[in-house]
Symmetry: C3
């Protein structure tokens, strides 16, 4: 089988959509494909470190930062979240059935060499600094995305 390329724009910061994105990315990487994931807007929250990182922010940036979930462990479902109860139930069921959690899927993606790219323009809008995101990311904009998508045979927006 020839090695092809896949790109996924991860726009959503919902747990369920993030799971779908990483399951597809890891599946493709396991089959030998080159995979690039672009995290933009709410999708950036998936990449945030779980602990507060001391960086200088404007009042609004700090407010945005506080209101958005800090990392893969804090995301909620897009439906049936019920104040976190539905999300907790889903996580419990996944664990019981030995299905990898989102943090585990992210670790696998990195081990498999999936390229994780944070959208710099979204970081600017949301006031998120590079130090607040997990290590090993690349930083780029829409031109880089388009260059990669041109070479890929599957391009998804999640």
């Amino acid at each position: 089988m020839e090695r092809t390329k896949k790109t996924i724009i991860v726009f959503s910061g919902d747990l369920d959509r993030a799971l779908a994105a990483f399951i597809i990315a890891n599946g493709a990487a396991a089959m030998g494909d080159e995979v690039t994931m672009f995290f933009t807007f709410w999708g950036l929250n998936i990449l945030r470190k779980p602990d507060k990182v001391p960086v200088r922010k404007s009042f609004l940036e700090a407010l945005f930062g506080r209101m958005m979930p800090r990392g893969a462990g804090k995301l909620g479902l897009s439906r049936m979240n019920f104040g976190g109860l539905g999300t907790a139930m889903m996580k419990y069921v996944m664990k019981k059935k030995c299905i990898a959690s989102l943090p585990e899927l992210i670790a696998t993606a990195r081990e498999q060499g999936v390229k994780l790219v944070a959208c710099t323009m979204s970081m600017d809008v949301m006031g998120i600094r590079a130090e607040e995101l997990i290590d090993g990311l690349e930083f780029a904009g829409v031109a880089t995305y388009l260059g990669e998508a041109d070479e890929a045979n599957v391009n998804l927006f999640i």
Copy 2:
């Protein structure tokens, strides 16, 4: 015109997004394309039989099952649902304008040979059994999706 392949991942279980997915799928099939739709997460609800099917479920699986809409006739809009009122209005308008309903679009898709695939991993997470889904489906995972997407020239995530 040469026969090409299309794939659509139907992640959403919203009526409006399901309509969009089937309109695209049926359009492509009518133009002679091979079309595969992969139903995952909330999208599985589109394929549920309208009546309760007696299957053994754990407490949480049964709870999930009760909280999620049972089939294409029960889905709500992603916006302006207003406790079902907006959805009822939309359905009424579509009927009056002779636009096919979602159950009709699904029937057409099946007549046209659109391949409907239920994601087995999502079924496992949500506790949905094959007997609870409409007949004529195939069951597969992410590797099958990726194999089909590699052969397709249009791949959407809805």
Copy 3:
């Protein structure tokens, strides 16, 4: 670099998703690509003129029209809208950081020759008339979309 084609289905009428769609479209057009955006369902709201246009509508069509945002300046965020406060904050931050607003992005798209297509079937369902939409659009259905997507190397559903 060879000139390729991109298509984007803009299904969502959320400000954040509309921004993402136009940033990708404008980026591709700036790199010399042919870009076609298909506006369907809630995405049509992005194209509405800001002022009420006197057209004959049924009661339900008029009701739908009143409940949906009138144009790019009225859209809200898909998350953290908080009754418009979150959206206002986001717009303020974007302006302060000299990031183009959605109306500016739409103007740029038109200047760059991005083809903006309104889905006629969605217009029919939602009771939106051509006169109510901004000028310079094309009007077409799913067959036109599929024809363009077949020629494109990147096709997104947003």
